[in-house]
């Protein structure tokens, strides 16, 4: 089973990311790339779950209703394509990120680092509704280093294009964290380079 994970951050719902991924056009592009499972993490805000369900109900004849919070939705489309939905998981990297083949993520620092350190292919859709746009700067910097792909315009066509590219190329690996160097800086064991 080949799967893709869409993650929009722990709390705030990234509306555009859900709309870009939970539609027929995008899902058929996933199928062309031999994906048969899409996992969507929509955030702990109640609006996230309602948006997820309204988008799901456009894709299937069955009527999915809100159930108790924190559950995992399992939705099987007619052709067998599986869609899963969850609000958030405290062990997200272990239970989700590490188990998929491709991650489509908002440009949050933690999310980017977790995905790359888990050795997964990553396409970033930057949340341009956020007040500070450090996320875009950071994403561009990572893209320059060829460790991830990202969308500049946030359209379905571009996202599909980025997914196709990510499928056909090998990204560079991100170097492991160098935080331990701070110990030497504190102890004054290394001289400023």
């Amino acid at each position: 089973m080949k799967s893709v994970l869409v993650t929009g951050g722990a709390t705030v719902t990234f509306v555009a990311l859900l709309q870009l991924t939970l539609n027929e056009k995008f899902i058929s592009a996933l199928k062309k790339n031999n994906f048969d499972k899409l996992v969507v993490q929509y955030g702990t805000q109640p609006t996230g779950e309602s948006l997820f369900l309204s988008l799901i109900n456009k894709l299937t004849d069955e009527d999915y209703k809100k159930s108790q919070l924190g559950q995992l939705y399992n939705i099987k489309l007619k052709d067998g394509f599986l869609i899963q939905g969850l609000s958030f998981d405290t062990d997200f990297v272990k239970n989700y990120t590490s188990k998929v083949d491709l991650v489509i993520s908002h440009g949050g620092t933690g999310s980017i680092l977790d995905t790359l350190r888990a050795g997964k292919k990553l396409v970033v859709v930057v949340n341009d509704t956020l007040a500070d746009n450090h996320q875009l700067e950071l994403t561009e910097k990572f893209a320059e280093r060829e460790v991830l792909g990202y969308c500049r315009k946030n359209t379905v066509e571009e996202l599909i294009d980025q997914v196709n590219q990510a499928e056909s190329r090998e990204f560079k690996r991100l170097a492991p964290s160098k935080g331990r160097i701070i110990q030497d800086v504190i102890l004054n064991n290394i001289i400023k380079p």
Partner: protein
């Protein structure tokens, strides 16, 4: 006439002494880097600020394996930083100081709050008993929440007055790729070591150093 000459002389001498003292204390003026005294476990003072900064700080601290003695300063409204600290592997004494400002505070309230927060911090730094019992920090480690600026400058003043002798280590956030943050700019001259996480920044700012991504 002679009295005024003596007065002027006394003033000049004291001014010179102050200047010399400042040169010895402020990193930017110093001729060479000073090494910390290593005869007991090194005490490191850390300021935990808001969400992202706390996350990066705890991430970095969890990678250190040297036995440092950590002390944390946390603002009284920042329960999430305390919770994240408790969940992490990092252990140390936590000092709570009054909060600087609430979201939506006006200018006057903000100034009042910031002042209270600073006074609370000073009380901890100078008078706290636990502090006197061997917790006096050799290093202040900060990574950019706004409240680190008054704290760092207070340490500089205490250093000059001889009431403290702490080096200041500043770590810029990973999200800063092309420009230093405002906190970073304000602490650029007074930090002993200034670590950035992108080589572009290290090229642009002479006093900074780059060793790779820290988090």
């Amino acid at each position: 006439m002679t009295t005024s000459i003596y007065c002027l002389l006394a003033l000049l001498i004291s001014l010179t002494l102050v200047v010399i003292r400042v040169i010895f204390c402020v990193p930017f003026c110093r001729l060479q880097d000073v090494s910390p005294v290593l005869d007991k476990p090194l005490s490191v003072l850390i300021l935990l600020g808001s969400g992202g900064h706390t996350g990066e700080m705890l991430n970095i601290l969890s990678q250190l394996d040297h036995k440092f003695k950590y002390s944390f300063i946390v603002q009284s409204n920042d329960e999430s930083s305390v919770l994240r600290l408790e969940k992490s592997q990092v252990k140390g004494t936590v000092y709570t100081v009054p909060r600087a400002r609430n979201v939506g505070d006006g200018l006057l309230r903000s100034i009042q709050g910031t002042l209270k927060c600073w006074l609370g911090t000073m009380k901890v730094l100078v008078f706290d008993k636990k502090w006197k019992e061997g917790n006096i920090p050799s290093v202040l480690l900060v990574n950019g929440p706004g409240s680190c600026v008054p704290l760092a400058y207070s340490i500089v003043v205490l250093n000059i007055l001889g009431l403290a002798s702490a080096r200041i280590i500043y770590m810029e956030s990973l999200t800063r790729v092309n420009e230093l943050s405002l906190s970073g700019k304000l602490l650029y001259l007074v930090a002993d070591r200034f670590v950035v996480q992108w080589p572009e920044l290290a090229q642009k700012y002479r006093r900074t150093e780059y060793h790779g991504i820290l988090v």
